[in-house]
């Protein structure tokens, strides 16, 4: 119970802090992040293919790729 109360207080403090949150990386400072080598999915056709090579041969599934996406597949 005490842990839950502490978690709620912590969450409230965190959210309260969000009110004054300022972007700490300005748009003009994102040159490196915009570089194609920083893309989580620069080759979507290849990524999708490899995801399914693994999914076909392993029991785990889902939460693939940067979008947390995956499939509803069996």
């Amino acid at each position: 119970m005490r842990a839950r109360a502490a978690a709620i207080v912590l969450a409230a403090m965190t959210l309260a802090g969000c009110g004054d949150l300022q972007p700490w990386v300005k748009p003009y400072e994102r040159q490196a992040l915009a570089d194609p080598i920083m893309s989580f999915d620069a080759n979507p056709v290849s990524t999708a293919y490899m995801d399914h090579v693994f999914e076909a041969r392993e029991g785990a599934r889902g939460a693939l790729g940067s979008a947390g996406g995956g499939c509803g597949c069996n």
């Binding site: 080598i37 893309s39 989580f40 999708a48 490899m50 399914h52 785990a60 940067s66 509803g72 069996n74």
Partner: protein, 401 residues
């Protein structure tokens, strides 16, 4: 007799189903920007465990009026299989083909992107459709992108049998048709942490309900008349499965223009499988040349499903019994290398740039409780554990226009 392995079943039936769906889904990196116009033509080839699967994948994506983006993907698997499951069953090598079409639509409004997708996968004995909806939203000065999505799938499972009029040929069994419904819910957060570091967190819950068996695969049990031998019987699976996966990924830009990346995924499901996946990699563009090389290493490990056994004591040992090696205790290790050559518009005014790519993956699969039962001369349950290596080749051209 045709016997589809789990590999073929999943690949042919539903797996690549979402392959294109994933390819069509824009990433969460930024919700306020539509993905670039591009076209990809890929040839894929998988060789391993007695199975060869190859074919093309073609993706085209185009923006309209800077607010919309449409995409289409065609994917094909051509399978030739004499996997260990096929061999243990006494069946002979078989060939089959799967065709898959996917279409996607993105709508950008302010800092929110809405996505719709639809995929149809067709093969002789399996038909699968999936519809998906997603949205992503940029927050906190575009440092954070939150996304969520939902997919709904409907599969129809059939099976082939020998043609009574022509025993050498296969026909669809008119008495066998099963349904499978699938739901997927996912959320993701992408966070820019510094000028050179970005992280993503993704969660996904998937629920299946319906016929989850493979109609061709058998489990094996101790022969009641000879304890050193085994017999085969059709697998019995639960009719529901729910899984949860959470993944954390990061990418870091190195000062000399290179990138390192890593990720971890934890998975658990209602069948008792727990799995861990970890990956690290490196991307290195060579200065003043059109070449980029990349390499990565991936490790995967899982514990077996509750109803999995390599050899059951008797045919009615428990309610559910399976011997799919993808449900066994196993691990895999993957070494990936890739080379990319970037070219300009090659004199064609409608092309901005393009790349030519060659990727190779070597995967080693090791099974801790799935035995190689192909040699009938060995005592059942004492055969060597199964393992195999696979080579995966991809050659593709990407063009941005």
């Amino acid at each position: 007799m045709t016997l589809m392995t789990a590999t073929a079943r999943k690949l042919l039936a539903a797996i690549a189903l979402s392959g294109a769906a994933a390819a069509l889904t824009s990433t969460v990196a930024s919700a306020g920007v539509l993905p670039e116009d591009r076209a990809d033509v890929l040839y894929h080839r998988y060789e391993g465990g007695g199975v060869t699967i190859h074919g093309p994948s073609v993706l085209v994506r185009k923006k309209l009026a800077e607010k919309y983006s449409v995409s289409a993907n065609y994917y094909m698997d051509m399978v030739t299989s004499a996997s260990i499951d096929v061999q243990v069953s006494g069946a002979s090598e078989y060939k089959e083909e799967r065709d898959q079409w996917s279409v996607g639509f993105d709508y950008l409004r302010g800092k929110t992107t809405y996505t719709l997708g639809y995929t149809d996968s067709e093969e002789d004995d399996y038909h699968a459709t999936t519809a998906s909806f997603g949205l992503s939203q940029d927050l906190f000065g575009d440092l954070t992108t939150v996304s969520m999505g939902f997919s709904r799938g409907n599969d129809t499972v059939r099976r082939t049998i020998s043609n009574p009029l022509n025993p050498g040929a296969r026909i669809i069994d008119p008495t066998f048709e099963m349904d499978l419904d699938r739901w997927s819910y996912r959320i993701g957060v992408s966070q820019i942490l510094t000028k050179t570091l970005i992280m993503t967190l993704g969660l996904e819950t998937i629920t299946d309900e319906g016929y989850l068996n493979n109609p061709y695969r058998a489990f094996r049990y101790v022969d009641p008349e000879d304890a050193t031998n085994f017999r085969l019987a059709t697998e019995k699976y639960p009719r529901t499965r729910t899984s949860n996966a959470v993944a954390l990924n990061a990418r870091y830009f190195l000062p000399y223009r290179a990138a390192v990346f890593g990720g971890y995924r934890f998975f658990t499901d209602s069948w008792g499988i727990r799995a861990n996946t970890a990956e690290v990699g490196y991307v290195h563009p060579f200065k003043n040349t059109p070449w980029t090389l990349e390499a990565s290493y991936r490790f995967y490990q899982q514990d077996h499903a509750d109803f999995y056994s390599d050899l059951f004591p008797r045919i009615d040992f428990q309610n559910f019994m399976g011997r799919d090696k993808e449900l066994s205790t196993m691990d895999s290790q993957t070494m990936h290398i890739g080379a990319t050559y970037e070219f300009g518009n090659a004199g064609l005014s409608f092309i901005k740039r393009g790349t030519f790519n060659v990727f190779y993956d070597r995967i080693q699969f090791n099974y801790d409780d799935f035995r190689d039962a192909r040699d009938p001369g060995l005592i059942a349950g004492q055969e060597p554990l199964y393992e195999f290596g696979a080579n995966v080749y991809q050659v593709f051209v990407s063009i941005w226009f």
